[in-house]
């Protein structure tokens, strides 16, 4: 026959073991300290006193994982952002966005001609649910996820509406926060570009060949 309250004593042994263990084996028992996925496997010093002391690079890969996603950003390829912005304001993301938090207006020059870039690109991050659908449907690899999370603001209305100029981030920054993903995306873009160019080249060559042929034929004709 089991002793009286045996199960209770067993449970108490478990809690005692956890109590003592939380002082001895901190890493196992207090798993908020588990940063083993990081290169150095330790809690970044800057996080220790967050938010009293804000770390400089809280949003880069020292504190968040590779696939971490928070809110979208627009990519440009360096230099003056609006010159190299990849977005062409095609509005696919606006249509596909499940909570419909994206608002885009196309840009036109003085003559009313459509130039392939957005005049307005707003994301209401108070509505955005970080689902990354916009990234997936974008055919131009122009919109990707940022991992910046320090966005709190006292302004309820304008404060969380991120405008185009704040959304624009360079490809280098993208490489910094998501190295693997950015490399893959660049690779994909390069192959696509190469394919496109190859196609173009092929088309050009074909045209050239056709022209040569034509020329040859014409020459033949002339020779006749």
């Amino acid at each position: 026959m089991s002793i009286l309250g045996g199960g209770i004593f067993k449970g108490m042994a478990v809690t005692l073991r956890n109590f003592v263990g939380s002082y001895i084996n901190k890493k196992e028992r207090l798993p908020t300290n588990d940063y083993s996925w990081r290169a150095d496997g330790a809690l970044p010093q800057s996080i220790g006193d967050y938010p009293k002391e804000k770390g400089e690079q809280l949003s880069d890969t020292t504190t968040v994982t590779e696939y971490s996603r928070n809110f979208p950003m627009l990519l440009h390829d360096g230099g003056e952002p609006m010159d190299t912005v990849r977005c062409v304001a095609c509005q696919i993301c606006e249509r596909e966005c499940p909570p419909q938090c994206i608002y885009i207006e196309k840009d036109y020059d003085e003559n009313g001609k459509y130039i392939k870039r957005p005049a307005v690109f707003d994301i209401d991050v108070s509505v955005c649910m970080s689902c990354q659908i916009c990234v997936e449907v974008c055919p131009f690899d122009a919109i990707v996820m940022n991992s910046q999370f320090e966005l709190s603001t006292p302004n309820r209305f304008g404060g969380l509406l991120v405008r185009r100029d704040d959304l624009l981030k360079s490809n280098d920054y993208y490489h910094k926060i998501h190295p693997e993903e950015a490399a893959a995306r660049d690779g994909k873009m390069a192959t696509e570009k190469a394919a496109k160019e190859a196609k173009k080249k092929a088309a050009a060559e074909k045209a050239k060949a056709a022209a040569e042929k034509k020329a040859a034929e014409a020459a033949k004709e002339e020779a006749k």
Partner: protein
């Protein structure tokens, strides 16, 4: 009124209240910290010295909590009985503070007269009489809040406290029987030199019963039904906020100290401990240390156990604790008479018999009450 008497009374009471109020603050910190560690958390660790970054393991937390409690809005629900809503926390605090006087705490600054003022002949019975008043405060709070959860909590509390008072008193009766006195100082005095009551079968049984009943009396887990969060929100103090809530909180912890102090007096030799011959002031230290032993076990239990259901709680009091404590009184009486004979063999035999009787009775009752409750086997489908 003679000034001397007044000063004596003040010397005896004011430090007592201050010490226990401080200990209360410390205990809230200790409980949060210990529970956090049991649950693999860190617990309060930020609040230390204001305006600096010194954390001091969060020892400033009770002070910060106190300040918050004082400045919080005092909300009285519409339709509540305003007078009783105000009186209930005060009525809860007074008895718990009052009974501290009956503990035989030998502080070095006490002189003969001030000690005598409190060491009444019937200290033990006074203790029980006055702790009984807590019931009324709880009921008052539950009724005055005009809230169904409060009312349920108040009803539960009253039923529980009244039921568990019986095994509590009956197990204390054993010690009173053995000593032949209701005087707390005398009871503690008999046990000096490690001759504690807990080191005998009936004493141990009484101690365990007393401890369990004390848990129920102070509404500690696993008997915290009156404030069962998952069922009736916060029970009788659902509608209390701010300082009134703080008073309830304080009263509850002081009651914990008081009942632990009584357990120490009755079963653990009061201020008895090594080194008393050299430094008599150690007596108070030992006493408080033993109280904290109790508090630690209470915290540990709170971190481990879920709570009983209301019918099981009452069943446990009436079907298990009461028969065992009544049986224990007989066993103790039998043992007392056997010890009067002064024969060592008879004493040993008495011990064995009483151990066997108590253990057998406990197992039998447990078996009876348990019914079909036991771990089960399960099948698997491939």
């Amino acid at each position: 009124m003679s000034l001397e008497l007044l000063i004596d009374i003040l010397i005896a009471t004011v430090p007592l209240m201050l010490i226990f109020a401080t200990l209360f603050a410390f205990t809230t910190w200790l409980e949060r910290k210990a529970l956090a560690r049991i649950q693999n958390r860190i617990g309060p660790n930020k609040v230390g010295i204001p305006c600096t970054r010194i954390g001091l393991f969060g020892l400033g937390q009770p002070a910060a909590d106190g300040i918050k409690m004082i400045f919080k809005e005092n909300i009285v629900p519409r339709g509540a009985d305003r007078l009783f809503h105000l009186l209930a926390p005060i009525l809860a605090l007074i008895p718990s503070m009052l009974v501290l006087c009956f503990l035989p705490l030998d502080f070095p600054w006490l002189n003969e007269d001030s000690v005598k003022a409190f060491l009444l002949d019937g200290a033990v019975i006074f203790f029980f009489a006055i702790t009984g008043l807590n019931t009324l405060a709880v009921f008052m709070a539950g009724w005055a809040s005009r809230n169904k959860y409060s009312l349920l909590g108040g009803m539960r509390a009253v039923a529980q406290m009244v039921s568990y008072e019986i095994p509590l008193v009956l197990s204390a009766v054993i010690v009173v029987m053995m000593v032949g006195s209701l005087n707390a100082g005398e009871i503690a005095g008999v046990q000096t030199g490690g001759n504690w009551f807990v080191f005998s079968p009936w004493g141990f049984a009484a101690f365990v019963i007393f401890f369990i009943a004390a848990l129920a009396e102070t509404n500690r887990s696993p008997f915290d039904l009156p404030e069962a969060e998952s069922e009736i929100i916060a029970g009788y103090f659902t509608e209390y906020s701010g300082f009134k809530f703080a008073l309830f909180f304080l009263a509850e912890y002081i009651a914990m100290f008081a009942i632990s102090g009584l357990a120490v007096t009755l079963f653990l030799g009061g201020g008895d401990g090594p080194g008393l011959a050299v430094a008599p002031w150690l007596s108070a230290v030992w006493f408080l240390a033993k109280i904290f032993g109790f508090i630690a076990v209470m915290i540990w239990l709170r971190g481990t156990l879920p709570r009983l259901r209301v019918d099981q709680l009452m069943g446990f009091a009436w079907k298990f604790m009461l028969p065992i404590s009544i049986l224990n009184i007989f066993v103790a009486g039998f043992a007392w008479h056997a010890e009067q004979l002064g024969n060592r063999y008879i004493t040993v035999i008495t011990w064995v018999i009483s151990l066997a009787v108590l253990y057998g009775a406990a197992c039998g009752l447990n078996q009876l009450n348990r019914g079909k409750v036991r771990p089960r086997e399960y099948k698997y489908a491939e």
